[in-house]
Amino acid sequence: MSDVILSVDNLAVSFRSDNGMVRAVRGVSFDLKRGETVAIVGESGSGKSVTIKSIMGILTKNAVIDSGTITYDGMDLLKLSEKEYHHIRGAKIGLIFQDPLSALNPLMKIGHQITEALRLNGPISKEEARQRAVELMDSVGIPDAQRRFDQYPFQFSGGMRQRVVIAIALARDPEILICDEPTTALDVTVQAKILDLIGEIKAKRNLSIIFITHDLGVVASIADRINVMYAGKIVETGTTEEIFFDPRHPYTQALLASMPDLETSEKLASIPGVPPNMIYPPKGDAFAARNPNALKIDFEREPPFFKISDTHYAATWTLHPYAPKIEMPGVLKERIERMRRNHA
């Protein structure tokens, strides 16, 4: 497939820590196609940020890349020198952070933080840089950009700061935009606006997007494909419809069941237990310990990916031909029915 722009293959990353190696990412593979939005969904600590930090080449010094390749434009990004990475970071792949409150330098004017990125494209005059930065601020919906150019981050609200971060990420016109939980730190109303903005710039600039979140509700409207990640592995991958209407992995099902929505009156089904300690990753299916219907084999052998359709795969023993049929919980069935109806 030639329209794959970025391909992560069997990526495994560990961190040295005082208590041993933390196996943060354990063999993640996914492709990003040109013009598409791929979401990575999983709860806190599942290794989402580590995956994208590997792509950006900004892992901390205690990180060890155990295996894998990240192919972009015929290069393996994991093999690039720091110097070669300067042509990739910002210029080809932009990143939007989880927490816009701390992502901006508190003591530097907003405008300067944007022009600093613009100037990396090549020498431009001060006036031109200002002009371009103001246009950029306008295009991400910052009102009164001329005046705000000279302000400091503390004079901006969280939503406005996230717009600044987006402007900085777009300054060098990258092909790929990675959004690491860009709305988690924001109010719900602001969240919706930022999501709209991301959708808008994607269409305008023909971007390919990797969208990280722990909230399935957020990705429903924005993603073409969803990878569900648990304990450092992708456990299910499929199109947005397949994941929402036909979830197969018990973890995906649990995520869907625990998603708040306006129409259910029952109590939210929270996922019991806590994620595993990644210094001692579990042997079989990592989710088995929290899955009330886990099979014996789930604790012993790691499930391979079972194919459901050309685009839909899930790593769970329940898809094995010999596995006993386990009914989906009624609440979840109803909810999926309702989503289907609303969707149609």
């Binding site: 900004i58 300067h86 932009g94 952070f97 992502a103 600093e116 004079q155």
Partner: protein
């Protein structure tokens, strides 16, 4: 009643009285007048020497965190901060001046500038060790914190080189609160200078004050103390003002979003 007239004279006439023991009948201000420039020169020189050295060592320690240079510097910081300056003054005097003869043993008040300056090297150094160590320790902590902050990550994902991100973001941000560390240090240097001036026989305010105290020359002691108090108050004022000038969050705080 005597005491009342004493204060009245000070306040109304600016009459600080006369020295009674050290230079009998000379007005105390005249006794101090020639000494203030010497003390100020010594202390300001120490401060000026310590700033670049503190910055260089602090940056080195932060960038080489948990490596050999950091450990060596940390050890020196502890030593320089905990041992008072007069101990270093005596040691330097004994070894660098006495044993090796690199510098004059005591202050040389001659018109030969080279000799005069070389006789100031050891006292300046003795006084600078503590401030060098505090700047180093402060900058190391501050830099390490900024280096691991999110905005450093953003600076790098923009595409800035590691070096540029450190200089334009981490270093710049760590330098901002620097004035608030350096200015109060001046008072500390002045304190050390009380004794160091005496060790090197420097004709400054510190030396004369220690003499005045030991021979009960009260009016001279008072005048010297007033001088020191004025300097400390002035530095505190400077710190408060500099906060406002340097940090935009304080400077613009009043008119948020305005």
């Amino acid at each position: 009643m005597q005491y009342f007239y004493f204060w009245r004279n000070i306040i109304v006439d600016g009459d600080w009285g006369v020295s009674v023991k050290i230079e009998p009948s000379v007005p105390v201000f005249q006794v101090l007048r020639n000494r203030i420039p010497v003390t100020m020169a010594l202390n300001i020189a120490s401060l000026l020497v310590s700033i670049p050295l503190g910055i260089i060592t602090g940056t080195l320690a932060a960038l080489k965190k948990s490596k050999l240079p950091d450990h060596v510097l940390s050890l020196m910081v502890v030593l320089f901060i905990s041992v008072p300056s007069f101990v270093f003054a005596s040691l330097l005097q004994y070894f660098a001046a006495g044993q090796f003869g690199w510098f004059p043993v005591v202050f040389q008040n001659t018109t030969d500038m080279a000799v005069k300056i070389s006789s100031m090297v050891l006292p300046v150094l003795a006084l600078a060790l503590h401030p060098i160590a505090s700047i180093c320790r402060y900058l190391r902590g501050e830099l390490i914190e900024t280096l691991s902050s999110e905005f450093m990550l953003l600076a790098r994902t923009k595409g800035l080189s590691h070096y540029k991100a450190i200089v334009c973001h981490a270093f710049r941000n760590s330098m901002v609160p620097m004035a608030n560390v350096v200015i109060p240090m001046f008072t500390h240097i002045m304190g050390g200078s009380l004794v160091v001036e005496k060790i090197f026989s420097i004709p400054g305010v510190g030396g004369i004050m220690t003499n005045a105290v030991s021979v009960n020359d009260h009016s001279l002691t008072m005048a010297a103390l007033i001088f020191y108090s004025a300097i400390s108050l002035f530095t505190i004022l400077l710190v408060d003002i500099s906060y406002g000038i340097i940090d935009p969050r304080v400077r613009l705080g009043g008119k948020k979003n305005g």
